[in-house]
Symmetry: C2
Subunit: 498 residues, 2 copies
């Protein structure tokens, strides 16, 4: 049987859940395939309603879900409440996007003469890819797990979903799945539309299953590499959308440090220690002027005074220790505040490290998942350029600067632009807004594709284009018929609103 551990106490107890046996997987993916065909026969309006029903179903189970996640993740109740709200909001935002229909990227090219002769009638739109495997993360039991963004975007795109439950929160996963399943059943969704598997072997088998058409993954680079290897051994490779690793450099200019040092210290401390620093957008490296001792002193004080927070599991707890040691031994970082463990469970206090910009090498840029920050102190802003180049591409970069810094802000923007997926100005990268324009991705190793896992355009991952040439009206989707209205379409090269 599977066990579950309370990170606040370290106590492990058995659950009633068993790892999914090899012979149990095929019926799940086969049912997903059947459901996929059925989903294609339902309208977008039906699907938008489904997503809203799932949001309602989730919120109806709020108390039980948050209680389960509290015991399995050790994350604070207010954070978990907000996260659940976010997941429900996300389902509803995708419902709006499905209603809007712009995501279909519908195009109609009527038959026409071309310089190469007569051109046929060609119509194109995006269609669902097929059953999607979703691997939830440890750190977001609601936003990137059973009910998270991958599940919501894959369903919004019209695909069935089979979820690999995260081993850190099996009971939260099971409760979340039951909430979704009940809401989907009540709404009349096809039976195999949602599936779940437990255990590492079942997860590996899921990725190898010929019915699975794509994988959404949020987790470590090492696990991502293992799943990519499985995909490369498939007879037919499939797309893998991995959100993998990110150190999220944050830069404070001398002018910003002088003007807002105290506010930046408070904001930065909150950003790297919130949720015990276990966020993929945590600012792990902050560039500070050598002169900004006040910012450092404030953060050092806050870190020394901070109570221990539980980390998600024993592996993350042990790994944080090892990485911190490597940053010192191999990266040459100095320890300004050493963390100490809490009395029980996997708790730790924040760690603060420091290095001179001219001494920064790749060995000091490893991602440390947890409440740890490395200050990179520069004497001159020109030292930032070379130091930034040693940092692996990330999901985000953040620039704190003043209006007098216009040229410097532009230059820093140019430097970070090729290396990240989102640039934050005078704020903090944590707290990713779920909206139409959000991009949560970046060059390898942040992600392995040009897609986002947060925001409306996350749907694009689970869609593929299909073209119909000289098709009779009867076989065309409604959205591609001449007289259809209601979705934005590009007709003979001209974009028209719905």
């Amino acid at each position: 049987m599977l066990t579950t551990t309370d990170p606040r106490t370290g106590v492990t107890v058995p659950t009633a859940l068993a790892p999914t046996a090899p012979e149990e997987l095929s019926p799940i993916t086969a049912a997903a395939a059947v459901a996929g065909a059925e989903l294609q026969r339902r309208s977008r309006a039906w699907r938008a309603g489904l997503l809203r029903a799932l949001a309602d179903g989730l919120e109806a189970e709020r108390d039980g879900l948050v209680e389960a996640a509290l015991a399995e993740t050790g994350l604070a109740a207010p954070r978990l409440q907000t996260e659940l709200t976010r997941s429900a909001f996300q389902f509803r935002l995708f419902a709006d996007a499905v209603d809007d229909g712009g995501y279909l990227e519908a195009v109609i090219d009527h038959a026409a003469d071309t310089p190469m002769g007569p051109g046929p009638d060609v119509r194109r739109m995006l269609v669902p890819l097929g059953p999607v495997a979703v691997f939830g993360s440890s750190n977001f039991p609601f936003a990137f797990s059973v009910v998270g963004g991958d599940t919501a975007s894959a369903l919004a795109a019209g695909n069935p979903v089979v979820i690999k439950a995260h081993s850190s929160h099996p009971l939260t996963s099971e409760r979340s799945f039951t909430a979704l399943r009940h809401a989907a059943d009540a709404y009349g969704a096809p039976e195999g539309m949602l599936g779940i598997v437990y255990g590492q072997s079942a997860g590996a088998a899921l990725v190898a299953d010929p019915i699975i058409a794509a994988v959404g993954f949020t987790g470590s680079l090492s696990t991502g590499r293992i799943l990519l290897d499985i995909i490369e051994r498939r007879e037919r490779p499939i797309p893998f959308f991995g959100e993998l690793a990110s150190v999220n450099p944050l830069i404070v200019t001398p002018a910003a440090a002088a003007a807002r040092g105290s506010a930046i210290a408070e904001g930065l401390f909150a950003s790297f220690t919130g949720s015990a620093g276990q966020l993929c957008t945590k600012p792990g490296i902050a560039f500070l002027p050598a002169s900004a001792d006040d910012i450092v002193a404030t953060i050092v004080d806050r870190a020394r005074d901070a109570g221990a927070q539980p980390l998600l599991n024993a592996r993350i707890h042990a790994s944080l220790d090892e990485i911190r040691q490597r940053l010192v031994d191999e990266g040459g970082a100095r320890v300004l505040v050493a963390p100490h463990a809490g009395d029980e469970g996997f708790s730790v206090t924040p760690a603060v490290l420091e290095i001179a910009a001219v001494d920064l090498t790749a060995a000091a840029t490893e991602e440390a998942f947890g409440p740890l920050i490395l200050f990179v102190r520069y004497d001159d802003v020109t030292q930032i350029d070379a130091a930034l180049a040693t940092i692996p591409p990330s999901l985000t970069a953040t620039i704190h600067s003043e209006s007098e810094d216009a040229a410097l802000t532009a230059r820093l923007t140019d430097i970070v632009m090729p290396r990240v997926g989102r640039i934050v100005y005078n704020g903090y990268p944590t707290g990713v807004r779920v909206s139409w324009g959000m991009h949560h991705g970046g060059p390898w190793p942040a992600t392995n594709t040009q897609h986002t896992s947060v925001g409306v355009t996350a749907m694009r991952r689970f869609l593929r284009p299909l073209a119909w040439q000289d098709a009779p009206d009867a076989v065309l989707p409604d959205e591609l018929r001449d007289h259809a209205v209601g979705v934005p379409r590009r007709i003979d090269g001209v974009l028209r609103l719905g």
Copy 2:
């Protein structure tokens, strides 16, 4: 030195071109990186003008280019003329798309309250990926080679391009490159924007080069696999967009065979023998009713009467023979018309094979690049379903049916839809229209991603999203400023025209 061979005679002569030496590659990609940064500083209007200048430059060299390609590919002059026209048209179509700006997928989410608290201002659009390596194909010296769709779409997206010249037509590649280079220089493009390398080793090194950000490839599955392996060994993997293999099933219903048998026979013969059958969209397998002996007889007659056409190179010539033999020996196909070689060079006449639908296995579905078709004869339309399932996913499927076939047409559409990227009705898959709505891709092994290599949306391959959060106006691209106009944008969830 590199050699070139006239496929019409088989005579090989030396050229003045040398394989690119290992030490010559770095300066080319380094110059591309510099050019990429410079391109970002130029406007979309500038880039649209560049694409039009390249189209003009290409057409100005038309006679010399077609002459070079005639000698190196053995393709017919009218076909090469049309192909060059198509490549020039394609540059101009991408210029229109760049002017339009819809491809930017611009989104503005103003700061707003959300159920999770205040949300920041988030703006997103697509930006160039970086220097793109383009591997041209043997069979399209203009449309999928130095001047082809990958080059045009990568440049349109704002990226520098480094081309690996195809070994089958080095002189055509060199002339094409010179034509582009002169036009680009005259227009004032940055020097490193276009590069070219020769030879297999240089191609492999190009894919491994850290500066290269993506690869566009049209060619065989086996070469595609080799390049994918190189990418997997890179420290930072990059996207690989491969157009790899396709058998393009074509289905003729009994009603269509009865109503239009003669026209279908002529159309199908032209489609599988045009350009000596060396098209990725060639219908390689045609489902015909057992009763449609007239269609078969007509095509058999045409094939017997046909003169030999040169294949592109010795490898394709030898491979076609081997594959035909395997289709017979291992696939159980019967030979209706055996090909015979021409008097000199790599010429062959068309081959026609046949098998019963109930006997079709995967061994008979291998792609044969050249003028070869396999007829699959069915007694009953229900036999088509299982037979189609043995055929690998393809770029296209084609359905010939009559209006009385409405239910059958719908059923066949449903069957082929998950297996292809384009469905053609009562026409032929060859002759791919270059337009806004065209999709030229499909599930593995047709392509390895959800993208097209023909049509305006081919640009999407070489772009990535970038988000700006709470950015000062000065660092935002013009297209994301509040008061900018001219491009379609989604503002606070509502799509607005330019």
